[in-house]
Structure formats: C-alpha cells, structure tokens
C-alpha cells in the first residue's frame, strides 16, 4: 500500500515542529585489548581506538541524517568500565592521565561525551575501584567530555553502602573544583545499571558486550505531547493506546537509522533505547506531556499515576516496534533539562520528596537537580541510598545525578545554558540519618532475588 500524504505529513511534522530526533548514537567500544604494562603505550592504544571509531561514527551518521531527513543530535562513545582496565596502573595520577587521554580522543574527533569512566562495585571494591573514586573530583573538574558512573548495587547483590558513603564527600569536592558544580553533572550512581544504555552521563560498554557495538537512543516528548493535546477527553486506556501508537512509530525510525548505521560501520547493532528525554527546546518537555494529561504542574497529586501510565505506554509501544529494545527505555525526568520541571520546582509544586516518588515509576531516577552546598556528606549519601533502595527492591534501574552547589541556598537558580539548562536549588530534609549511614556494610539482596 502506498504511503499517503497524511502519513508523510505526520512524519514531517514530528521532525519539523515537534523536535523528533535520534537523540544519540552511541558506539560501545571494548578497551580491554588496549591494556599494556607500558602506560604510555596503553594510553596511545586507548586514544587511537576511541578516536578512530569516533571519527567513523560521525562521518557515517551524517550521511544518514541526510538520507532520512532526521537529526542525529549526539554521536558518542561508551567504553569498558575504566577501573577494570587500570588494575595494574592503580594510582590517582594515572587515572587522571587516562581520563585526559579519553577527553582528548573525544575532543579531537568532535565527540561531546565519552562515557564509561567508572566501576562496577555492587558487591565490593577492588583497589582500582577505590582509586578511581578518589580520582573523580579531579577527573570531573579537569576534563570536559569524560562521563563517569558507579554501579553500587543490584537486586541480586544488594546495596554496597560502603561505596555510597564515599560519594557525598567526593561530589562536594568535585563541586568545589568546578564552576557551579558542573563537574557533578558528568557523574551518575546506579543500581541495576544496564550495560547497553546509550544515554549520558551513565553510558558504559559492559563486559558482556562484543568488541564494538552500536546503540541508539531515540526520544520525542514533543511528539507525544502533541498527540496527547489532540486527545484531551479520552480515558486512560485510550490515552495509553494513543501514546503506544506514536511511540511505535518513532521507535521504528530509530531502529531503521540504528541498523543502517551499524551496517555501514560493519559492526553489530546493539539496542534501541526509547526514552522520552526532555531538552531545553520549547515544547520538548516530559513535564509538558504530563500537563497535557491534565496535571496542573508536575508534583501535584496524581503525577505518579501520570508518569506510570506514560512510562508503561512508552515501553509497550517500543517493544512492539523493535526486537532490540534495551537500555533504560521509558521516561527521564531530569529537573534542569526540562522547562516544565523547572517551573514546577520554582512554583513549589515539585519537592525533592515527590521527585523521589516519581522515580519509582520512571525509568532512571533523581536526575540533574541541585541542592545547597552546605548539606552534610551523610545527608547526600542518604539521598543516594534512598533512591537506590527503590531500584533494588523493585528490580529496576535507579540512579542519582546531583549537584551540591557551594555557596547556594534553596531557591537560587544556577544557569548552565545549552543542553544542561537551568537548575533551581532544591531544599532537602535537614534531619540527619548520619548514625544510620555510618553503619556501612551491604544491604542484603532482597528475597525476590532468590529465584534459582
């Protein structure tokens, strides 16, 4: 059956007026084969492998942008968790040098972010893991493109509270060393981290992955918002169906581009991650989607139900569209990158407590929010631990990306510009859990993990 003018117009409208794009094409690159006892040779091999693949990725992605008339916004690289390849070069200075090597490889190729400067410490830390964490304040403040992650727990391992307890101090140190705490925007702490997530800052190339693989992240809150706005009266089942149909279409576009790009690069295609991810562009906002549902501002009672519906419909539409749906797939609710979220915080509609509740049904977690710089380390650790406990018990990914901004108090605004937008500083609960946090150790894996 031939394509109708209505169908062509629908696609063109999505791209031209509702910001549909391929948000990211992320090349996963294994760096284990670069390991060398000679550190200079090691760095040279890492530089060459990352840079060569990055250059090819950009070149081929551009061709497909023209062919399909759809913008591919970001081209990125995710590498093997760096602590794994640095076991025999375990000093802070060498970790920093490796970060600078990755930074340069990305910059020289024209790639904005390279992810994977992190460690998997869900059950305990090696010497390399501890050294990496100790080096993070310098890495995050002295490099511009290197993104870092830690996986500190999983449903089958429990939560490594000893690792969490290192993070409050680390984040505050990184915040002090970079302007407006911006270094902290490049660090995510996870539980149940997916090994094929293409979205930064948490992308890394898992140890179970092939040598090279291509993962694609597709977004489109503006597209979903427009169909929701056209259907203001329908009930929840119908609303879910409408979102599913739309997400099906945009996921298919992502899969087409991903598969063809992988074939052009002669590498295996990994996954499509369909995640509604806001940008600072007008109307490209998950909060605006929820408002179109009938929520006055995100954070109002009813918001958790709204995010649950949205998230589930997105997953169902995506799963029907592609056999390779993976990564985080669902809905991101970062504060700073979403004009509707910022407005909700500034109007007092959205508190940190309600944001935490929303993350129980969104696909990631507490993302891109700022807190006053004087919040004690133990409270930061407790905010992280609370969020991650939600992921462990509910067998899902959760994560935290936060900015404790020195000298700022609740209500202040931090302007970053570009993709990172503006961050309103949010108040935290000032009562202490320090005595609980200092117990340390490991939260045992929940009984739901005993399935063998």
């Amino acid at each position: 059956m031939t394509i109708t003018v209505e169908e062509v117009f629908e696609t063109a409208q999505m791209i031209l007026y509702h910001n549909l794009d391929i948000r990211t094409t992320t090349l996963g690159v294994n760096l284990k084969d670069c390991i060398d006892s000679d550190f200079s040779a090691f760095k040279r091999k890492v530089y060459q492998k990352v840079n060569t693949h990055a250059v090819r990725l950009i070149e081929h992605a551009r061709k497909l942008e023209v062919k399909y008339g759809i913008p591919i916004v970001n081209k990125r690289i995710a590498v093997t968790p760096i602590s794994l390849i640095m076991e025999s070069h375990c000093t802070k200075s060498k970790f920093l040098q490796m970060a600078k090597t990755l930074d340069k490889a990305a910059a020289d190729a024209g790639i904005d972010f390279v992810g994977g400067f992190g460690a998997l410490v869900q059950k305990g830390m090696t010497k390399a893991d501890k050294t990496l964490i100790a080096a993070l304040p310098e890495v995050l403040s002295q490099t511009g493109r290197v993104c870092s992650f830690l996986n500190v727990g999983s449903t089958v391992s429990g939560l490594n509270l000893d690792a969490v307890n290192l993070l409050g101090g680390m984040l505050k140190d990184a915040a002090k060393k970079s302007k407006n705490a911006i270094g902290c925007a490049k660090f995510v702490v996870f539980v149940n981290a997916p090994e094929d997530n293409p979205f930064m800052a948490g992308a890394f190339h898992g140890v179970g992955e092939p040598d090279i693989t291509l993962n694609v992240g597709i977004s489109g809150p503006g597209v979903v918002k427009s169909v929701v706005e056209e259907n203001r009266e329908c009930d929840l089942t119908e609303l879910s169906e409408i979102i599913k149909r739309t997400v099906f279409k945009i996921t298919r576009a992502g899969e087409l581009v991903g598969r063809e790009l992988a074939a052009d690069l002669k590498i295996p295609f990994g996954i499509v991650d369909i995640s509604l991810a806001s940008t600072t562009a007008t109307g490209d906002s998950v909060a605006n989607v929820l408002e179109a549902f009938g929520i006055e501002h995100v954070g109002a009672h009813g918001s958790t139900l709204a995010v649950a519906l949205l998230m589930d419909a997105v997953k169902k539409g995506g799963a029907m569209a592609s056999g390779n749906v993976g990564g985080l797939s669902g809905t991101f609710i970062p504060v700073s990158e979403d004009a509707g979220m910022i407005e909700a915080v500034n109007k007092g509609a959205l508190s940190l407590d309600k944001l935490e509740a929303l993350t129980a049904v969104c696909s990631v977690g507490l993302d891109m929010f700022a807190i006053p710089g004087d919040v004690p380390d133990a409270t930061i650790n407790a905010i992280i631990a609370d969020e991650l406990a939600i992921g462990i018990i509910n067998n899902k990914t959760t994560a935290v990306r936060m900015l404790p901004v020195p000298g700022k108090k609740a209500g202040d605004q931090i302007r970053f510009g570009g993709l990172l937008g503006t961050v309103p500083v949010m108040e935290v609960n000032r009562y202490s859990a320090a005595d609980f946090m200092k117990r340390g150790g490991r939260l045992p894996a929940p009984v739901t993990s005993l399935r063998n």
Binding site: E7, T11, A12, L16, I70, A253, E255, L256
Partner: protein, 92 residues
Amino acid sequence: MNKELLFITVIGKDKKGIVAKVSNLLYKHDINIEDISQRIMGGFFVMTMLVDIKTADIAMDKIATELEKIGQNMQLRIQLQHEKIFNKMHRI
C-alpha cells in the same frame, strides 16, 4: 529496473509556482516524479512528491540543498527523505 524512491514534502502557504519550481529542478537533474499529492491539513498546504533518483545526475545531499534554497525563497519548509523511513514508521 530498481528504483530509489524518496519523498519530497512541501509545507507552507499555497502559492503559484511551487510545483513548477520543484519539478523544474527535478527535470534538470534527470529525476522522475512517480506521484504527486496535495492537501490542506491543519491549516497547512502540504504537497508530497514521490521521486525516483536512480538516474539522477547529482547526489541526494545536493538535491536537498537545492530544495532548501527553493524553500527559503518561497517561504516554505521542504523536506527530502528516503521512502524507507515512511514504510518503517507507518507499515507493520
């Protein structure tokens, strides 16, 4: 014979000479028009052309640039996209 089919989408206000300008460009570069449709939708004039660029004497990115120029001159949005994306998005 194998074809390489693309859709040209023109969106904007209806005015004289749109079809003439676009089809003149296509003729100049040996591009065959397989189908044309037009409709008023959501207040927009929308025209789609299905074209075969198999025998074209210039590459797709150059055609896109030429179409963009026409779009700018006539205050229209003109998109050029491979038909595969529409088949993927609108057909199961």
